[in-house]
């Protein structure tokens, strides 16, 4: 996703001289192509992220379109008030580009993880949140951005994410939920790069004869509530999967939507647990720790599916959701 971002931004740099790239001293060699196009529009702001947001707001107020680049936690939680006041309250058209959403910076540890960006930023009025899951979606977001007004947060994974689908998304359709796999036995919804694990979970389920619909959101905010509600009309089980903590994330948003609209769909949310990992984990291991690997996702969906089927037969009340199976270091190390 990172390479797709830089190559697409280079194309934008050529055709739109409003585009300015501002980095918090990160992305060594990645923005060389931008420097070659126009050195003046590339700024290494240094290691001072909160001021970098205000600076971008100032650029935005003179009619430029800054792309502000850093690792997710440094760009979001460290700069929360600047994003709220300088960008949202003052309505600046600035794009925040966070690399490494969720647990993508696995071995770097919690200082570099970004499991809480989307929920936190969702509190801020007027901030658009884009959550592409593959290189094509990243490119589509960059194509859509120059026509959007107001601040945007673009959450990237890290690199080498597989394409989720061969379908082409038009830049005007980034808010529409993407149906990656058709199915009529429940729905799995996700955003961001964890979508590839969801697709693999879908394959596991298919092998067991269950055909869920796989839906991916490349825009978290504005939340495509109407389209999702239409998909939920069948009353079948729904599982949300996010590389993000539950608070303020996709699961909470969907749960609110389901409750508010009186939907009867059995529901389960899979999210990163509310605690810091205390051992070194690469990205895959971190996703496993969080219960977001393909097998865990498939297992959770299956459990919900079977229980709903059983409770439908018995007319009983569904159980209350439990957090994903807790991580056991020994079990994991035995497998890896």
């Amino acid at each position: 996703m990172r390479d797709a971002f830089f190559s697409e931004l280079a194309e934008l740099f050529v055709r739109d001289d409003r585009a300015v790239f501002v980095t918090g001293d990160l992305g060594y060699k990645l923005f060389d192509s931008l420097v070659q196009i126009d050195r003046k529009r590339v700024v290494n702001f240094g290691i001072r992220e909160p001021s970098m947001i205000g600076y971008a707001a100032g650029l935005g107020k003179t009619g430029l379109l800054p792309f502000v680049y850093s690792i997710v936690p440094f760009l979001t939680l460290r700069c929360l008030e600047q994003i709220k006041l300088d960008l949202c309250y003052n309505r600046c058209s600035v794009v925040l580009v966070g690399v490494g959403g969720g647990l993508a910076y696995g071995p770097n540890g919690p200082s570099h993880h970004g499991p809480d960006d989307v929920g936190t930023l969702s509190c801020l009025p007027g901030l658009r949140i884009l959550t592409p899951g593959d290189p094509h979606e990243v490119r589509t977001c960059i194509k859509a951005i120059p026509d959007l007004k107001g601040p945007t947060y673009l959450r990237l994974g890290r690199n080498k994410e597989p394409e989720l689908s061969a379908q082409v998304v038009h830049p005007l359709e980034i808010v529409r939920p993407r149906i990656l796999t058709q199915g009529d036995e429940g729905t799995i919804v996700s955003f961001g790069s964890v979508g590839s694990n969801v697709l693999r979970a879908g394959k596991i389920l298919r092998d067991q004869g269950i055909k869920p619909r796989i839906v991916h959101l490349m825009t978290f905010r504005p939340f495509p509530e109407e389209q999702l509600l239409r998909l939920l009309k069948d009353g079948a089980p729904v599982v949300t999967v996010e590389e993000h903590v539950a608070s303020g994330g996709l699961g909470h948003r969907m749960a609110a939507m389901i409750a508010t609209n009186g939907c009867s769909n059995p529901f389960r949310m899979l999210a990163i647990p509310d605690r810091f990992p205390d051992v070194c984990l690469d990205h895959d291991a971190a996703l496993k720790w969080a219960g977001l690997d393909p097998k865990s996702i498939a297992r959770e969906f299956l459990a919900l599916f079977n229980r709903s089927a059983a409770s439908a037969r018995m007319g009983g009340i569904d159980q209350i959701w439990q957090p994903p199976v807790s991580y056991k270091y020994s079990a994991l190390s035995a497998k890896t």
Partner: protein, 298 residues
């Protein structure tokens, strides 16, 4: 009580309905002592009237002279060019001095004067800190300290990238210089050689609960800016002649500039000067009458 309130209200309406003392295009370069003195007194009275409804009268009085000189003699901003691309920009980073800004904008004809009469009334756009989006003359909404300078640095860079000659002025408090973002962005302005940027520090020596030196030590503020690569000027922040000369001066090529203004918190009203209580208290009743007497033209 209600009659008294009505009278005050009436008096205020009459005052703000006076024709604005318009900034003359030709005034840049010329300087009429009696006119500016009269204007600055009027601005102080405007602030006192507004201060009936909010805190922060003392920090507004410490910088109202700076704002008056800026808008009437330095910035190329007038009602006819308030959205021109090449207009100078001003950001009030110490947003709690909004009353001073509103008074100046009203007298300069940049906001509707009747609005200042509604300052801090329920439903008014004129909040205790400069608002976003509703008043074009307010370039940037502030209130939380340490935001103005980073934004001003970005504006200065943006104007440079667009090839525009306009300058960016930003007013900070000395207490505000506690904020790390001030120094983060001061370094960047210097690194990017922004000579279209002027920071003005209202150095009244006080922050909200103490003297600045009690909190941050006896560090010379000018030296701090100089060590960040800025040109440093200083002026008596209540002397219009000095302010005008200092604020109008062109920057050295490739260097941002700071003007340290030595000011008095609560300036112009004897019982408010250097008295922290007036960072907080609205000005009401006899105190208001007494303040206005001290600010009379006579």
């Amino acid at each position: 009580m209600s009659i008294q309130t009505h009278d005050r209200r009436h008096q205020w309406e009459r005052l703000v309905s006076m024709p604005a003392i318009r900034r003359k295009e030709s005034a840049v370069g010329t300087f009429e002592e009696p006119e500016i003195k009269k204007l600055l007194l009027q601005l102080r009275r405007d602030v006192v009237h507004m201060a009936e409804r909010s805190a922060h009268v003392a920090p507004a009085l410490s910088c109202v002279d700076i704002l008056g000189v800026l808008y009437f003699y330095v910035l190329n901003v007038s009602p006819s060019n308030s959205s021109a691309l090449d207009r100078d920009r001003f950001i009030l980073s110490k947003g709690h001095a909004a009353m001073a800004l509103y008074a100046v904008l009203a007298r300069a004809g940049l906001i509707n004067e009747s609005e200042t009469g509604d300052y801090c009334q329920v439903g008014s756009y004129l909040m205790e800190h400069p608002p976003a989006g509703k008043i074009p003359a307010i370039e940037f909404a502030t209130g939380s300290l340490g935001h103005g300078l980073p934004v001003a640095v970005g504006m200065a860079k943006g104007l440079e990238l667009k090839g525009l000659k306009a300058r960016v002025f930003v007013l900070l408090g000395d207490g505000e210089c506690d904020e790390g973002t001030v120094w983060e962005s001061a370094a960047v302005a210097s690194g990017q050689r922004l000579d279209n940027l002027i920071a003005v520090v209202d150095q009244n020596g006080w922050q909200a609960c103490s003297r600045c030196c009690e909190v941050s030590g006896e560090i010379n503020l000018g030296d701090r800016w100089a060590s960040f690569g800025w040109s440093v000027d200083s002026a008596d922040g209540h002397d219009p002649e000095q302010l005008k000369r200092c604020l109008s001066r062109r920057n050295d090529p490739g260097r941002p500039r700071v003007v340290i203004c030595h000011t008095v918190k609560g300036k112009g009203i004897n019982f408010m000067e250097n008295n922290l209580e007036w960072h907080y208290r609205p000005v009401r009743g006899d105190e208001k009458e007494q303040a206005l007497r001290e600010l009379s033209d006579a």
